[in-house]
Subunit: 367 residues, 2 copies
């Protein structure tokens, strides 16, 4: 069902999107401030469009930010770069968009399409192509199920535009766009995966903006009511496409190793158990990719590995990890369309160079 | 005057273009092979169009290759990349080109527009925007006199295209295009500085393809007749816009230091005099930028610093410099429109970070 979103929903959505970001996707806080500003300056509300209500021939142009989350928190966007990218792609295609959409529901990319919507009046489709956050542009259910990312348009902070077309080769598209993102200072705003309403219904993970909003509300309410955030999270996920929630570990951050390299934030973090000698190691490339407890895999990409502050339930991003934080690490099952062999080939552990096979979190960790 | 060029002219033009490349611009040898192939497969001749005969409203789209010369000799183009770039720019502009043109008459970029001409049937305008070779895209008389490089189109070897628009900011255009060139493996084929016939007449260095052809013929004839190549070169340049020719040094290459960094070939070479203890040091970024004899500047960019094999008069590129080569180093005056304060701001010594002021070669070295 379609509905309108207003400024009071943004804090909850940002919290839920941070959780779906699985440590990456960029901190949605800055995106939220930009959307709030645009809503105050403009229409006041944003239409969230259920994908089921899209016309098959509607043109949907997703918008996003790409870059290292470590840079995103230091280099604040001007606010109109993603609109410029959308407009450049419209000119290139010779057609106006009927709606925008996230390519990624986790992290700041839950907010960028809202910013475009608030500035242009376009509705935002309640769906995305990652069902979480991933570090590279070809890691999309759109791509897995046959929608090309090309042509892709980039809008920079000085009004520059770049349009890249690599045909069906989405990995090459990522490679070239990342080159421009690096030269723009580590972050670029993009419009890509332009597609018909029919293709959205066929290839997107549905209702993920609404899911982010519900997760954020649940975590806030749990805190207000002094309830266990993981319990509230499990209740929220029940009945959705993400219905298995497992506690992987509870402990304290004792080591973080992180570097920004080739346009990504790469590294690892170690947590020590509150009680006993157990340790959990997280490996990340922007997002958490694998969690190993005492060397044994507990959860692996594309299943979601989320680090929450133990008391408040507030999600912690990989660039926000600090020595001494008390955390609970949660694994969440990815939707089935993200666990197919075609999907695992694009964003399973092998796609990140991990020498680990995919196993569902519900098989690795019992309730 | 316009005329036709055929396959027999290419060796001479390549030799002359190598000299005008002032050590850089990429070895024209590979470009020449590509043009020969295209002429055998196609029309057999190419029309070289005198800029004076262009209609003021004609659309001229220059074509070129960009990248490190060290890479260009190892990564052979497929041959249709520059045509793809031209076509992508035509689509972006919504208009077909009436002619192509070099942006750079020195090195391989004398050949790339001929390749496009042989494959498309378009004429090539006998003019360029560098009057020699330079390492960066904003270093153009077009740019100096107000024609923007944007939009720029890139064609890659896998059929990918990129269109970059940075408005009037040609330095930013260079920065972003270089990022793509690096990601394409160090070389990209481009179409840029699309302009009217009127703008060509106002901003281009005229008749530089013909100049390259005449230089190449003169050096070959001198060799065949056992004449001094420098004497033949000076005769050829007399009466052209490049009419001061000076011998800077005669000696043997005793040291070469070269690295490919950030998409450029940077380094220096030292020559020791055949007689006495004198030394000449050449500093280059793709092209020779400054020649110092025993620490004293003898010639500096944008004047041309050309290294010729002492006996044959064959030009030696910076990537072709080897220990033990016997060479004569020649300085040639750049045309007046390349020595104006506006021009020196864009491609004078300060633009390369050299702490040397520009002084004309004819003031630095007497006849």
């Amino acid at each position: 069902m379609s509905y309108t979103l207003d400024v009071r929903d943004l804090a909850d959505l940002a919290r839920g999107a941070a959780l779906l970001g699985t440590g990456g996707g960029g901190d949605p806080y800055i995106g939220r401030l930009l959307v709030e500003q645009a809503l105050r300056d403009g229409p006041g509300t944003i239409t969230v469009l259920d994908p089921a209500e899209l016309g098959d021939d509607d043109l949907v142009i997703p918008t996003a930010q790409m870059g290292a989350p470590t840079v995103m928190v230091e280099k604040i966007p001007r606010g109109d770069e993603a609109v410029a990218a959308l407009r450049a792609l419209e000119v290139h295609l010779g057609r106006r968009a009927d709606a925008t959409m996230p390519i990624e529901c986790g992290g700041i990319n839950s907010m960028i399409p809202l910013l475009v919507a608030a500035r242009t009046g376009l509705p935002v489709v309640d769906a995305d192509g990652m069902g979480r956050a991933f570090p590279e542009l070809q890691m999309e259910t759109f791509s897995v199920y046959g929608v090309p990312g090309s042509p892709l348009a980039i809008g920079g902070e000085n009004g520059e535009t770049v349009v890249i077309d690599t045909g069906a080769d989405n990995k090459r598209l990522e490679w070239l766009a990342r080159g421009i993102a690096i030269r723009l200072g580590g972050v670029a705003h993009i419009a890509e995966y332009a597609m018909s309403g029919a293709d959205v219904k066929r290839t997107a993970v549905p209702n993920t903006l609404t899911l982010g909003l519900r997760i954020g509300r649940a975590l806030r309410t749990a805190r207000e009511e002094h309830r266990d955030p993981v319990e509230a999270l499990a209740e929220t996920m029940s009945g959705t496409l993400y219905d298995k929630v497992r506690v992987l570990f509870r402990g304290k951050v004792v080591d973080v190793e992180r570097r920004t390299v080739a346009g990504f934030a790469r590294g690892s973090a170690t947590l020590a158990a509150f009680e006993g000698g157990g340790r959990l190691e997280l490996t990340f490339q922007n997002e958490n990719l694998v969690a190993r407890a005492d060397g044994e895999v507990r959860c692996v990409v594309p299943d979601l590995i989320c680090v929450l502050e133990a008391d408040s339930g507030e999600p912690i991003t990989t660039e926000g990890l600090r020595y001494g934080q008390r955390a609970v690490v949660v694994g969440i099952s990815a939707p089935d369309l993200m666990r197919s062999p075609e999907a695992l080939a694009v964003f399973g552990p092998g796609a990140f160079g991990l020498e680990v096979g995919f196993r569902p979190v519900e098989d690795l960790v019992s309730l």
